[in-house]
């Protein structure tokens, strides 16, 4: 155990107490025993990106199958497994853990000037539960009955032991239990870190937007994930212990599963989205050389989204006919207001700035465009009459793929922006820009035909479809888009290989604003040798540009004596 002290900058002692280099085990044992948030975060990042590639391969197989009406690439049963595992891997194992496990773990403690997460060993446990949970879920493919095949939502009664026997479904439940606990522990850790380990002067309203969003995400995790875990235990009991919680035959209620699942599932959408909103906010501000426009408005918008997100779950269940349509429709439409504020503030942050179109900035602009489409179609779907029309069609598929592909843009922006901080090396900008264009064009070509297909009535989760030239052409176009997205992912891997330890980053390659750019790249054990005075939400900028300090919220003080 190491006692960590905040050291005063006036001592001139760059290597203060508690900041001495770490002397522990090395090699594989170092990885197994580490409690350093940066190494855990890096493990999270690598695992999540590998799972993104696996989930992406499933997607490419699905799209190739759908390129012709009677595709024979996979059997119908295999197709069911593929779309189930594609959704499960992307939502449960990539997007969430990448957002609140990978970059949050590395960046949040450094952004608030903390030496580590509040509970480093719990943090390590989170990673091991995430890794073993992912292995558990994917190992379904190696069982006799194949992986889970009831869709990533696991609706009852399709997911009961009569309709979905076999180990694959149980492994899916088990994997979710493990990753669910991993998420809960990460949530506890983030809240405790942000509440108790901020540097002197880092008040709540001086925290970077990314940290704020992660705080709200962590609170949402604590509200939502226990519900999913409880639901999964009930589902397992139904499958194996003879209970009838979700089956009509014993007096249970199948729709209860949908209530429980979506009570987790819709906050989960914001648990996925808010961290990426934060990444994009930071990137846009830094590469426009301006402070975040409407800093407090951004925070209140985030809090409002979180508050409303607990009251919208049943807009996924409009067609069940047993939910309170006006309540859920109003609540869902209301979410457009804070999200609109965020859009406005992102554009405001760029307005009249000196925009530097780096790969990270391009990815962020790609995020804005793609998320706008996903968000606006979400407003359509919040209206019950339109939802009755389009429920379970490709319109819904296109809507949520616009949203989650926007998050992929956010993830890439985060990796290009913060990668140099935790690796010490920049990625190649040219390959990054090529990656952006493939990703951007690919995403639009991939989703637009699906909106039309949905309006023409093509249902989701079908391996074959009627011979209709129009449907086929649109499906071919969508497959082409998916392949372009695949190329962009390959370019990202190529970029990592090409730029491997080639372009040293230095402490602050982007002339950035927040505290993580004040320390070295990569940061030392326990993160800081010294801290600057914190007088605004941009301490590093204030330190580097004493002539242009931040005029934070109208309260300007002289920052540097």
């Amino acid at each position: 155990m190491t006692d960590v002290l905040h050291t005063a900058p006036t001592t001139g002692d760059d290597h203060g107490h508690g900041h001495d280099e770490h002397h522990g085990p090395s090699g594989i044992l170092k990885w197994l025993t580490t409690t350093d948030h940066k190494i855990i975060g890096l493990s999270y990042t690598v695992t999540a990106v590998v799972l993104f590639v696996i989930g992406g391969l499933f997607a490419e197989i699905i799209r190739l199958q759908l390129a012709s009406p009677n595709g024979t690439l996979v059997s119908l049963a295999q197709y069911n497994e593929l779309f189930t595992m594609h959704g499960s891997v992307m939502i449960y194992l990539f997007a969430g853990p990448f957002a609140f496990g990978a970059l949050a773990n590395i960046i949040v403690p450094i952004q608030i000037g903390a030496p580590d997460m509040a509970f480093p060993r719990l943090n390590a446990l989170s990673y091991w539960l995430y890794l073993t949970g992912s292995i558990t879920m994917l190992s379904g493919f190696f069982t006799a009955g194949g992986a889970a095949n009831f869709g990533w939502v696991g609706y009852a009664p399709l997911s009961n032991s009569l309709n979905s026997p076999g180990a694959g479904a149980d492994l899916w439940i088990g994997g979710l239990l493990l990753t669910g606990f991993s998420a809960i522990f990460t949530g506890v850790n983030l809240v405790a870190t942000i509440f108790y380990l901020r540097a002197p002067g880092m008040t709540m309203f001086r925290m970077p937007i990314f940290t704020w969003n992660l705080l709200v995400t962590a609170i949402l995790i604590l509200l939502a994930f226990p519900v999913l875990t409880a639901g999964l235990i009930m589902l397992y009991a139904d499958r194996h212990f003879g209970t009838h919680i979700f089956s009509n035959s014993g007096g249970g209620v199948p729709v209860l599963w949908q209530h429980i699942f979506w009570f987790w599932g819709h906050p989960e959408v914001y648990i996925l989205a808010l961290p990426f909103f934060g990444m994009v906010t930071e990137v846009i501000a830094v590469f426009s050389k301006k402070p975040v426009f409407g800093y407090k408005g951004m925070i209140f918008a985030t809090l409002t989204i979180a508050a409303l997100s607990l009251g919208v779950w049943a807009h996924h269940m409009f067609t069940t006919g047993v939910v309170l349509l006006p309540f859920f429709s109003i609540m869902s439409l209301l979410i457009a207001v804070p999200t609109g504020i965020k859009m406005f503030n992102w554009i405001g942050s760029m307005w009249r700035g000196q925009i530097w179109f780096s790969a990270a900035m391009l990815m962020s602009i790609g995020f804005l465009f793609t998320f706008l489409i996903g968000g606006l179609t979400g407003i359509y779907l919040a209206s019950p009459p339109l939802d009755f029309m389009t429920h379970d069609t490709y319109f819904v598929v296109a809507h949520f793929h616009s949203v989650v592909m926007a998050l992929v843009f956010g993830a890439m922006a985060g990796l290009y922006y913060w990668g140099p901080k935790f690796t010490g090396y920049l990625l190649h900008e040219g390959i990054g820009k090529a990656q952006f264009w493939f990703l951007f064009i690919g995403t639009q070509v991939f989703t637009f035909p699906q909106y039309l297909l949905g309006l023409y009535g093509m249902p989701r989760r079908m391996a074959v479809y009627p011979h209709d030239p129009q449907w086929q052409h649109l499906n071919e176009l969508s497959t082409l888009g998916a392949l372009l997205i695949g190329v962009s992912t390959i370019l990202f891997v190529v970029n990592i290989g090409y730029s491997w330890k080639k372009y040293p980053a230095g402490d602050n390659p982007w002339d950035a604003q927040t505290l993580e750019w004040f320390t070295t790249s990569p940061p030392p054990h326990h993160n800081f040798y010294r801290l600057p005075q914190i007088r605004s939400e941009r301490p590093t900028w204030d330190y580097n540009h004493p002539d242009h300090p931040s005029l934070a919220h109208g309260a300007h003080e002289e920052t540097h004596a």
Binding site: L5, H6, Y127, G133, G201, L324, R530
Partner: protein, 130 residues
């Protein structure tokens, strides 16, 4: 500490309000119960922080004009490395696999978990490795 407390209390209040509206309007109980629980989950830590925020001195991280020198001092004790998160993780893995592949996997699973609980606790008490 006040901002943290107020944030949680306001969130809890909003969930309570939503719960009241939903409970009286809908014919379904699950959602109301879950929103009520959400309210409690915000009120519990929120009121704890509020109670403390009125009884403690402002911390350096809550002050707007503190210098780093004023804030210097003990932050906390952090473990340098520990094998027990990995041991506990493998124990949990084994317990979950016992749900699928047979109850016998509980033996290594609970064994590893017990080892991790004892080892981790004593590591925390005696200081553990650097």
């Amino acid at each position: 500490m006040k901002v943290e407390a107020k944030m949680l209390l306001v969130l809890g209040l909003f969930f309570g309000l939503m719960c009241a509206v939903y409970w009286n309007w809908s014919l379904e109980n699950a959602g109301g119960v879950m929103m009520f629980a959400g309210m409690l989950l915000c009120f519990l830590p929120g009121s704890y922080y509020y109670w403390w925020s009125r009884r403690m001195k402002e911390r350096p991280e809550d002050k707007k004009d503190v210098t780093q020198a004023e804030g210097a001092g003990f932050v906390g004790t952090f473990p340098g490395s520990s094998i027990f998160p990995f041991v506990l993780g493998m124990g949990a893995f084994s317990v979950v696999l016992s749900l699928v592949f047979g109850i016998w996997l509980l033996i290594p699973g609970l064994g590893l978990a017990a080892w991790a609980f004892i080892g981790g606790t004593s590591e925390g008490r005696r200081g553990g490795s650097h």
